[in-house]
């Protein structure tokens, strides 16, 4: 086992562990902190892959900007911390995720697996499965290519080179523009009186609707994270 592999395993445990903590914890603030750990782990992967640029970008953007933003939002919306999130679907989602992971593991993993469905009655009739499928045993190639010294400059040039990635770069620019415009629209402050009047009208309307729907006076508490539609389905 090389040193690289040891570091990889440590990083992987850190990433998976912190990610698991993020999705299971009921404390948003701690979750946000553990997210930073996970991001750091990913930055470590980039370093292992000899890509310093991406590692720095990961740290600056995901940790320096996004995580901090999350922490700010959590601290600014203190009311949310008091709520106890319940998710009745945690179990089923976990099973589904595990299932997908298993399939991908089988498909890309080191074990070779032959699947022959040509004899299965319904499937073979529906999907014309003439031949057997081979799963797993993917001969992963480990390219030990030297990373050129000038790769950062090359990367920069590729982004503005007409014959390489100019169009995606341009697209990202417009995308960012759209995101900014949208974000500003969503975040823009409107005249308080206007908002209050509107909110009141809507609240009144909804209270009436709710009263019509449910005779009992106590409004049900909605679980956090659930965005329930008030309309019919």
């Amino acid at each position: 086992m090389t040193l690289q592999q040891v570091i990889f395993i440590i990083l992987a445990i850190a990433v998976i562990g912190s990610a698991l903590f993020v999705v299971t914890t009921s404390n948003l603030f701690r979750g946000a902190l553990m997210l930073i750990v996970a991001f750091f782990g990913v930055a470590g992967f980039y370093v292992l892959l000899d890509n310093g640029l991406f590692a720095v970008a990961q740290v600056m953007i995901y940790i320096g900007a996004i995580s901090i933003l999350i922490i700010f939002s959590v601290m600014l919306t203190r009311g949310m911390q008091a709520m106890i999130p319940r998710n009745a679907q945690a179990g089923s989602v976990a099973i589904a995720a595990a299932l997908l992971f298993l399939i991908l593991l089988l498909a890309f993993g080191p074990f070779r697996l032959v699947v022959d469905l040509s004899g299965v009655p319904i499937l073979s009739a529906l999907f014309r499965t003439e031949s057997a499928r081979v799963l797993g045993g993917v001969p992963w190639q480990f390219a030990n290519r030297e990373v050129p010294e000038t790769y950062i400059a090359d990367f920069g040039r590729a982004l503005v080179d007409l014959n390489q990635f100019l169009l995606p770069f341009l697209l990202v620019a417009f995308l960012v523009d759209a995101v900014l415009a949208g974000a500003i629209y969503i975040a823009r402050q409107r005249k308080p009186a206007e908002v209050i009047a509107e909110r009141e009208a809507i609240a009144k309307e909804e209270a009436e609707e709710l009263a019509a729907l449910q005779p009992q006076p106590t409004a049900p508490t909605l679980p956090q994270g659930a965005i329930a539609s008030t309309a019919d389905h």
Partner: protein
């Protein structure tokens, strides 16, 4: 050239478009004259085409505007044809049409839907021209259906009165029955000849000749069923008398001069086919003659001024159809032409009378002849022209009707004694009801306040009367006995030899007509007789046109209602609806199940999407 050939159709369409778009905002006069000038322009274009045709000695002008249907073997184009036959029809349609448009400006004055009336009327002229200028059966059928539509719209023009709307519906339904025959005939033509083109079909008929006799009998029979609908022959004539619910100029144009003659035109156009089928020919002649007699006798006891003319029209159409059945197509078309003149004249005259009766405020039905009388003094011009038209209808020389009717009788005399007898009796009836009508309407003393206070109609209405009266006076000249101009003109199309005048026959029928007119004067000088005779059994029988409507009600309609009841109650509600409802209920149940999946919770959606992802990945990686 291209434009010239279709211009008779385009002008009325243009007029229609202008009035349809801006008619609401234009003054009445402008609307009327736009429509009238559109038809006058179409008439001028027809005249130009006519002159060109005569210079080229009847060599037809053809124009294929655009391909229309190209489906497998079926190739139909928007093709138009101007040959001597269509040229005559075009002149009648646009000429008489123009006069009636002008007349309508006066007659429809003050109607709230004045513009719409002229839109329909222009559309009708365009459609009728499509019908007569078509160079294949399908385009002809397009015109055939379009004129039917216009007829329906105009009969029910005053649809506020339920009676009028019902009359329109009746015309529509009855015509549809005939159309089924026509469509079947057309399909059979296509199946037999592989084309619907006139020229190709008729050329093939000439080549294949007798071998086609059996199928030709069937085709012509089916086409004739179509003709009985449009040209109001037994058994489908019942819609035409009711069609008088429309405005009177419409009755004159559509239900006397042009549309109803479409069946006669179609039979002349397809005469090559009909000549191959002597059995159908004999049947056609007989049906025409019987229709002439039934309708002619029914006209004897009508009390509505327009109903008399309506039954008279059916009767005269019977003459034309009988002539076509006898193979005397020139006679049929000649009678069509003269009838267009004098019947339009009579209708417009009747319209003038109704207009006057209506304008003079009173409480009687303005169309009831029993309430008229003495109008000759109050409306001298209308009286004069009406008499000219009436005498032409009665067949007195030297008016147009004399020559054309004589030719039909002559053809029957030579070929088919039974038809001749029937038509002969009808001719006597014709003179009798014409005399009765003139006496009741114009002579004697006024029998109501309306009649007493009637005034002559305005010049815009009397001018067309004058023109038509002149045509009626001189119209016979275009086909004098023994091979007149019309005979030669139609020679390239119909290849028919002219018959010489039979002086004896002409004399006998002139005397019969004079006698009948005299009898009418003797009988109806005292209007009391007209009042009483409708009360008798014979009177009721004739007034209701031999109770044919009642017979239809008791047989066809009742059977039909019974069948519908069975279909609607037993089959539809009991069987089909029940099945459909069952399917619908299960679909709804399924829908409620599916709705449950739409919970509104994003995490549910996420989970379900996740499952979809797994299915897709498994399929692509493992199964496919």
């Amino acid at each position: 050239m291209t434009l010239l050939i279709v211009s008779p159709i385009l002008f009325p369409l243009l007029g229609m478009l202008i009035n349809a778009l801006f008619g609401q905002r234009m003054r009445e006069r402008v609307v009327g004259w736009v429509a009238s000038f559109a038809v006058i322009a179409a008439f001028a274009a027809s005249v130009v085409l006519f002159v060109q045709l005569s210079q080229s000695h009847g060599e037809p002008l053809r124009l294929t505007l655009a391909p229309w249907i190209t489906a497998g073997a079926l190739n139909v184009a928007w093709g138009f044809l101007v040959d001597p036959l269509s040229a005559v029809m075009m002149l009648i349609v646009t000429g008489v049409g123009a006069l009636i448009h002008i007349y309508s400006i006066g007659y429809m004055h003050g109607d709230p839907r004045f513009a719409r009336y002229f839109v329909y009327l222009n559309l009708f002229v365009a459609a009728m021209l499509v019908l007569v200028m078509a160079d294949n059966f399908l385009v002809l059928f397009v015109g055939w259906e379009l004129v039917g539509l216009c007829s329906y719209l105009l009969i029910g023009f005053w649809f506020q009165d339920v009676k009028n709307a019902a009359a329109g519906r009746k015309a529509f339904v009855v015509n549809r029955i005939g159309d089924v025959g026509f469509v079947l005939g057309m399909l059979l033509i296509f199946a037999t000849f592989g084309t619907l083109d006139f020229e190709t079909v008729f050329a093939q008929v000439k080549v294949r000749g007798e071998s086609l006799a059996a199928v030709a009998s069937l085709i012509t029979l089916l086409l004739f069923i179509g003709a009985t609908g449009k040209s109001a022959q037994i058994p489908l004539f019942v819609w035409l008398p009711d069609a008088m619910a429309g405005p009177t100029p419409v009755s004159a144009l559509i239900h006397a001069a042009t549309m109803v003659t479409a069946g006669v035109y179609m039979m002349s156009r397809a005469h090559v086919l009909f000549e191959l089928a002597p059995t159908t020919q004999a049947l056609i002649a007989l049906v025409g003659a019987i229709t002439a007699l039934v309708a002619g006798s029914s006209a004897l006891r009508q009390v509505d001024i327009k109903k008399v003319l309506a039954y008279s029209t059916v009767s005269q159409l019977g003459f034309m159809v009988a002539a076509a059945g006898l193979g005397a197509y020139v006679a049929a078309l000649f009678h069509l032409l003269t009838h267009a003149f004098f019947k339009a004249l009579l209708f417009l005259g009747a319209g003038s009378v109704i207009h006057a009766m209506h304008a003079a405020h009173g409480d009687v039905d303005p169309q009831d002849m029993r309430a008229m009388g003495g109008l000759a003094k109050r409306m001298p011009f209308t009286f004069l022209t009406f008499v000219i038209g009436g005498l032409a209808l009665a067949g007195l020389p030297p008016l147009a009707g004399f020559f054309s009717k004589d030719e039909v009788l002559l053809a029957a005399f030579a070929d088919n004694p039974l038809v001749f007898v029937l038509l002969g009796i009808t001719a006597a009836f014709t003179a009798l009801y014409v005399g009765r009508q003139i006496v009741l309407v114009f002579l004697g003393e006024p029998r109501s306040a309306n009649a007493a206070h009637a005034h002559e109609s305005p010049a815009i209405m009397t001018m067309p009367l004058a023109v038509l009266a002149l045509l009626t006076l001189a119209g016979g000249a275009i086909n004098l006995p023994g091979g007149g101009w019309l005979h030669h003109w139609l020679e390239p199309v119909l290849h028919e030899a002219a018959k010489p005048l039979n002086v004896g026959l002409a004399l006998v029928f002139t005397l019969i007509a004079l006698g009948a007119l005299a009898l009418a004067w003797v009988w109806y000088r005292d209007a009391q007789r007209a009042r009483l005779e409708v009360e008798s059994a014979l009177g009721r029988f004739l007034l209701s046109a031999w109770h044919i409507d009642a017979v239809y009600h008791a047989t066809v309609l009742r059977a039909f209602y019974t069948l519908s009841t069975i279909c609607s109650q037993l089959i539809d509600i009991g069987l089909i609806d029940a099945a459909v409802n069952a399917v619908g209920r299960s679909a709804r149940a399924a829908a409620d199940q599916l709705r449950a999946a739409q919970s509104g919770f994003v995490r549910n959606y996420g989970l379900l999407m996740f499952l979809g992802v797994i299915v897709l990945v498994v399929y692509f990686v493992v199964v496919r």
